[in-house]
Symmetry: C2
Subunit: 317 residues, 2 copies
């Protein structure tokens, strides 16, 4: 029974709804690591469907959402804001026993929007693979995107344990480390580790663009001194991020409040010339960086230097 071995496909068919960076990376990962026998792809954009066909990363590219609903695992890879609408259209076509999942960066709002549209027997297990780049679209994906990254599942209490185990095995096959937590806790953790950093990055890039005393061309020219790292984050997909902020409003505003209090204290240290206070904070933040590198969540390579050699392979996007 070789098929039951470690490398046997975990699902017979997987349907991906939305073939952007994440959806197209899942498609490539399934193929590369043999996680399913068949990949069905649906995207509401004719242009994306044509591109997915040309790239050959799915077995079937279907033109109707209903045609994608017959898979054993259906994954919504669309912006958080349209998950409810897609679920309403998809729900009636899902088979009992099918697993429905998603990849959204917000979980409580997705559950609230999707759950009402599901027929009994469908196993809905929300998921969030914490991986991405600043690029979007089917050409931006790659099979190793999820390697050594976390994927958080937020199953509701009534979900079938066997279905959750299969979804865990699926993400593990794509290289991710799977963790389970409540949707509410997920939304709070991501508000601080992801949503607040993006908000701050978008804000500072906006501030810099609006100055009169310093021209935009000067900001771009001298960006290597720190600013450019924010622009990378602030280049992330606008639709996706609009939806995240609108759908995780409370947690984001809560974290923003904390950030703002701390910034007021820091501003006071500068104004009062409190060098010891500044030094203490800057030393503490350095230690956190070391933990992140030690735990393999980032590389220790000195990236501010970004040697010319590292620039050689152009992304072509």
């Amino acid at each position: 029974m070789a098929e039951e071995g470690a490398s046997a496909p975990i699902f017979d068919s997987v349907a991906l709804i939305g073939l952007g960076l994440i959806g197209s990376s899942i498609a490539r990962g399934i193929r590369a690591y043999g996680a399913a026998r068949r990949i069905i792809a649906f995207d509401s954009s004719q242009e994306v469907r044509a591109r997915v066909s040309a790239l050959g990363i799915a077995d079937d590219v279907v033109e109707a959402l209903a045609a994608a609903a017959r898979a054993d695992l259906v994954i919504l890879c669309v912006p958080v804001g349209v998950c409810g609408e897609v679920a309403r259209a998809l729900g009636p076509h899902l088979s009992p026993g099918a697993v429905l999942s998603d990849v959204g960066s917000v979980k409580a709002a997705v559950i609230a929007q999707v759950a009402p549209h599901l027929p009994p027997g469908v196993q809905f297990i929300p998921a969030h693979p914490i991986a991405g780049t600043e690029y979007s679209g089917p050409d931006a994906g790659f099979a190793t995107l999820f390697q050594n990254r976390w994927c958080i599942l937020t199953p509701q209490p009534q979900v079938d344990a066997a279905a959750a185990a299969k979804l865990t095995a699926f993400w593990t096959r794509l290289g991710a480390n799977v963790e389970t937590m409540s949707a509410a806790h997920h939304d709070l953790v991501l508000a601080v580790t992801s949503h607040l950093p993006h908000l701050i990055a978008y804000n500072i890039v906006g501030t810099a663009a609006d100055l009169e005393e310093v021209t935009q061309s000067e900001v771009i020219k001298f960006s290597a001194s720190g600013f450019r790292d924010f622009t990378r984050i602030a280049a992330s997909d606008p639709t996706m991020w609009r939806d995240i902020f609108l759908n995780n409003k409370e947690a984001v505003l809560e974290m923003l409040g904390r950030f703002d209090e701390d910034l007021t204290a820091l501003r006071r240290m500068i104004r009062c010339g409190d060098g010891d206070g500044l030094f203490a904070l800057f030393t503490r933040t350095r230690a956190i960086r070391r933990s992140i590198v030690a735990q393999g969540q980032d590389t220790a390579a000195p990236d501010f230097g970004r040697a010319a050699a590292k620039n050689d392979p152009p992304a072509g996007r």
Copy 2:
């Protein structure tokens, strides 16, 4: 007269005061590109002096500051906050006609602290090479750090044009693009492109570390979702950054005020559910990123993905 050709040394001897990331990178760059015949190194730390000797990146490692003052070009590569003190000790030993420069991230304060200690005839030309990594110390430097980076000179009106031309040639030899502007304008440009980004990064990392609802280990674990990019900046040298904020106080507080106003507006958009406003901002910031990549100030490689292969060469620090 081959020596007068394009690759002839620009200075006979260069003394580097302080052999951290920048000082040791200049030493390596001088050697690699033949920018001077002789490199004299002084550092107030016995440990650093021993390390510089062991690395063999200078011709002379001297134990007294005065012994470094005899060079044709003396560069202060020390934190901004001690430039005045070093200049007071160094000043009496400098020869008329010598060029004194620095590498500080703040210019007006350095000029105010250094200029009073200089004997007549010394050509003081403040400089700021906009290059660096999040690492510190003599082992962190490398010869190509300044390649394709900007170096800003802020000479005062009375400086000798030939001396400024020589310093320009020196930095050009090390691979930098040299630009000249007033110290006041430099401090404003850097406040927005460098000091504010660092301040914000230090602040958010501090905020995340202090939360009770989300543990520090969760923040570290899920940092790849955005947070880790801030920790890289917030791992920069604490002494250097304390001094920058204390010595460019007015410009930093001014830029922080703008940032704060914009953040208030952004917070309101989220609270009111203004999706169009958010989308418009996020689209605008994406365009700025494209300009930075187009102008060669960053690479287009999708860095959020940070493929496993890119992690292979460990920095060993």
